[in-house]
Amino acid sequence: MALGFELKGESMSEIPLVQLLTPEGERVTHPEYESTLGKDEVFGMHRDMTIIRRLCNEATSLQRQGQLALWAPLQGQEAAQIGAGRALEPMDFTFPSYREHGIAWCRGIPPENWLRLFRAVDHGGWDPQQYRHSVPTIVIGNQALNAVGYAMGVQRDGAEEATMVFFGDGATSEGDVNEAFVWAGSFDAPIVFFVQNNQWAISEPTVRQSKIPLYRRAEGFGFPGIRVDGNDVLAVHEVTKRALAHAREGGGPTLIEAFTYRMGAHTTSDDPTRYRIDAEVEVWKHRDPLERVKAYLVRQHQVPASEFDATIAEADALAAKLRADVLAMDSPDPLSIFEFAYADVHPLIEEGKRDMIELGVGGGAH
């Protein structure tokens, strides 16, 4: 079976990978990492993942119903994002691509704000300083350099803050990501590179991007790289927490490769049946990030079914609210396009505004 995640001569099991929870939900030990999380925290992460998946599915429905221009689903990557997102300290700063809905959730950004971009009413959607989470970057890999620069600023301020940047396996081929590695290594920037290797860059498998496992790229740039089971929320959390602490303490950068799988399409415009086989998807269904935590919570902590039901009810209510919020989301005032194009007065902006007002477009209040 030609699986996208198989690398020449190396199957998944042969590559060292930090795992604390097997796909069956069994706790396993690792020589370097131990989970410090108690029952409530693990349950909380299961709740996060359940909510994120539910909201993501709601967004897909909204797109199918013509309410969003596009949606980038994260299904399959919930453990990678929640494990990483819950490892952050409030003052850390994060740079997302466009699929980091789970990180946005952990940073406290209201879900309807994530959808502003996808409803095409905004290019951002939230105040990046308030939530310590930058606005989405759609051009693949640009944010890696921006994040390293931010980390260099943190370094110059003498602050104990970490910067974390998110990108996918496809981005690792971009010049900007490789330049970001060079800069981070050269300046010992306090940054964590978090690559979600979901095996597919739209239709291109990871083997098209790299002859070696992605985490091993770090060695060539002079900092540690580590592969973690991206569908194991406990392992992702521990690995990320340690890398963030390492950055805050002045230890420099780390590359984390969260080995995971994009269960759905790249975006709602994509058709994965054209380039990958069902059998591969079936294999990964057995590694579902939610199921293994649930199995663990039931077996290890005897969490009753009623508590999981309560989470599902909560997620449904949030999804209903998200739907209502999105449907209530108006198009922006056309005049608002002029508002932030420049920080200072600009004659062409004044001219454009005058033109639009004379044509009777927009609210005219700007």
């Binding site: 640009n142 060079v182 800069w183 920080a343 200072d344």
Partner: protein, 326 residues
Amino acid sequence: MAQMTMAKALNEGLRRALEDNPKVLLMGEDIGKLGGVFRVTDGLQKDFGEDRIIDSPLAESGIVGTAVGLAIRGYRPVCEIQFDGFVYPAFDQIVSQVAKLHSRSHGVYKMAMVIRIPFGGQIGAIEHHSESPEGYFAHTAGLRVVSPTTPNDAYWMIQQAITHDDPIIFCEPKCRYWEKGEVDLDRPPRGLFDAHVAREGSDVTVVAYGPSVRTAVRAAEAASAEGRSVEVIDARSIAPLDLPPMVASVQKTGRLVVVAEAPANASVASEIVARLTEECFYSLRAPALRVTGYHTPYPPSRVEEEYLPNIDRILDAVDRVMGFES
């Protein structure tokens, strides 16, 4: 008042900006110990340290991309791109992030950064060292583009650009780096985005910027020997254009020639012509002409004199607008 070269004036301007604000950082290739290939940053690393005068890895996208992050963090980075022809690896960051992040973040992120680019020809260089990429940036909403032409302008405009909150592409006419001039250390001559009448005249208006201003002034001097009074306007700001002084001049002379090294097709020179035709339609007594580089890749510099707008070509255009019969 002090006499200095443009390179020294930029150096002094940068020094003063570094002294005025601890958030100002310089970053670029070879700008530290070496002082930059043109020595514009000479001695600054020794005085301000390696954390503020950052010798960067050899990666232009890296320079601009990390400057974006530093700007988000509240720094005011000044990037040096070593030569015009090497800015293209950074083009993606400039267009996709630098120009757009203020808008995308609803004004939360100030992209208060300056990207210095030594540009233009007339130095007998090899390929990629004489280009005029300003049009790409002038075209991009979210950016501003300026170019000083005298040591005094260089000293003040670099400081004004650094204190400005929008990202600024700062095009330095490298052929004038070594030319000396008076610098008034106490008072800026004018605002960063103000055009300036470099030489007064009454028959024809010649608008130029950057390295072409000197050529235009020399052409005006030659024209004066033939009894023609040519007014030369130094645009200084390429984007936005400071139109009112240009409009006033064309209304006075009724004739316009625009001079630039960049090829004319879809260029800044074309924009100046379009704008002034729109604003001065009834004052124009002849179609406006452009004198620019030809539509070829920048040639081997042994023939750049023939490629670039030179005095003869400008005088020829002056003759044509003067001789036009409607």
